[in-house]
Assembly symmetry: C2
Homo-oligomer: 337 residues x 2
């Protein structure tokens, strides 16, 4: 059995109060006592029981994150990096990270949010992949549970978030393609309820407008943010009588799938067909050809989000509650042979 604070106190012939205060660094403990306490506690391998401390302190020292798992396969490197960032920053503040999974928008998801909030298992939450009208925003606001988001939603109010200016990014990307002589530029998007779809599509339209190219709805198709989805969408695009000369994927996975479709069709990517993505995942660098993309620093964003969340939990005010970052356009061979 692991020792409790009582055991430590007994061994030291001190009260549990003194032990508790010595370990928590209060200054009304004799320096010599403190040293003894700390030494013995370490010797005995004492660590406060989490549940007891949470109950008493009325906080869990944990933050939550729910992965939007979708069938059949979940292997988006975005989330590895995001979780690594959340985990690292949480760990270095002695916070735990609670992770669960739920398909977005289904009942199971809502149940999970309710359970975590009501049971107070987490002190705050991080959200990503926001939806246009995201019930989670109102839900968490209503529950007064601190939360931060990566990206906004239409109903975002005053909660802290970090957003990457994908709209400008996509406009710039279109600009790059236009510069390379493209006029028929396709866009493989995501389901319309996702905020990123609205934003990135807007950017795409901005870019076309800036170049004086009329918007053509036939060049916009829906994907699902996976390689497979990009592959299938690109096949459809390339099978049309008047196929595009460039394809923008809403994320890198989509673009990578599109490259595969193009290759199967015998097109030389970069020369016969330009392809570009968004995210800057490592795959993009090692794909063939290397993929032009808009890079966003996911790991760093996750860490900053946790910093913001912890400040929120500690009731500190944030110097900069809403942050807008610019993605970085990385031009590689897929658009520039």
């Amino acid at each position: 059995m692991t020792p409790t604070i009582r055991d430590v106190a007994k061994r030291l012939k001190l009260s549990i109060t003194t032990v508790s205060r010595a370990l928590d660094g209060y200054d009304d403990v004799a320096e010599e006592t403190r040293e003894r306490v700390i030494r013995v506690a370490r010797e005995m391998g004492y660590v406060p029981r989490g549940a007891a401390r949470q109950l008493r302190r009325r906080r869990s020292e944990a933050i939550g994150y729910i992965l939007p798992t979708i069938q059949p396969r979940f292997s988006d490197p975005f989330f590895s990096e995001f979780i690594a960032g959340l985990g690292d920053e949480a760990a270095s503040n002695n916070f735990d990270l609670l992770v669960s999974t739920a398909p977005p928008g289904e009942a199971a998801e809502q149940l999970l949010y309710e359970r975590w909030t009501h049971s107070r298992r987490v002190d705050g939450m991080a959200l990503s992949r926001m939806r246009r009208n995201d019930w989670r925003v109102e839900f968490l606001s209503g529950k007064k549970l601190p939360f931060v988001t990566m990206g906004r939603s239409l109903n975002s109010s005053s909660h802290p978030y970090i957003e990457v200016d994908a709209r400008s990014g996509f406009a710039a990307l279109v600009g790059h393609l236009v510069e390379r002589g493209h006029r028929r530029i396709a866009f493989i998007g995501a389901p319309p309820d996702l905020m990123l779809q609205s934003v990135r599509l807007e950017g795409y339209r901005d870019g076309l407008a800036a170049a004086g190219i009329p918007f053509d709805a036939k060049l916009v198709v829906e994907g699902n943010l996976t390689r497979q989805g990009g592959y299938e969408a690109a096949r459809r695009l390339l099978a049309t009588p008047d196929p595009p000369s460039a394809i923008i994927g809403i994320n890198d996975l989509t673009a990578i799938g599109a490259m595969r479709a193009a290759h199967e069709k015998g097109l030389a990517i970069g020369r016969d067909l330009a392809v570009a993505g968004y995210d800057g995942i490592e795959d993009a660098e090692h794909s063939r050809p290397p993929l032009t993309t808009l890079n966003q620093p996911v790991y760093e964003i996750a860490r900053r989000l946790v910093k913001m969340l912890l400040a929120l939990i500690a009731n500190e005010s944030l110097a900069e509650p809403q942050i807008l970052l610019q993605p970085e356009l990385i031009i590689r061979e897929s658009t520039s042979p």
Copy 2:
């Protein structure tokens, strides 16, 4: 403020005992009472406070997993899938998944394991990427904390695990390459303290032996399980005076990096140089050319591991505590143009 069991009891004019027992499904509660309790509890949005319940029950209903984060970038799809599997199975049993991050083998890692065990924040742990001599096995055994592992280590004793027979897999892979006429087959491995390195290298040697090809140490180089590592290692291999005609990567990321190096060198992959990997990640399917690989069902393995772990926690005995699965050889163009 979220209601406590007291509030519910008061509203119902019942004792908290009865409320507790009604909600927990004991059978010594009048059916009518139970229904009333459940209805009112739901109406009031009552959910037991996690900390209180954990304290009293002396279990946390959570399992833990620590990600082996390595610099500078952490984007291995293996872990997305693994975490999704852990999370899905945990969630469907009303367990939470605690995730943290630590560089393998460093002090921070040990601290984390100690904190989680002593503070009883988790009822059990899942381990992956075992090391040859893995201190975690003895540590957790000593603490009597239930745990399961993906793969074995040399000091694995009687704990439950699921292992994929990578040794046979790599032997079969070598056999496939030999059949295609290759004799100089290189192996890009991982750091030697990792169990997977021992096992897969053994399989590679088995395969050579079976084909009567002498082992050549110059054809075995060390990578780090990333694309970048595979890229660099392959560059070294291909720069030698007598380069290999086939390269096996210890995992798919390594192989993908190797393909890039080969391509940069002007080699036609599949024809001038065969490349193969291990894992069966989605990238392998969409790479160019599609990558021959040994597929292991990571998501399913993670789910089964959690099932085993939960049984262990519940003190049930496992029908099959140690499971050996066969990987599936998927032959694609990278070895078979």
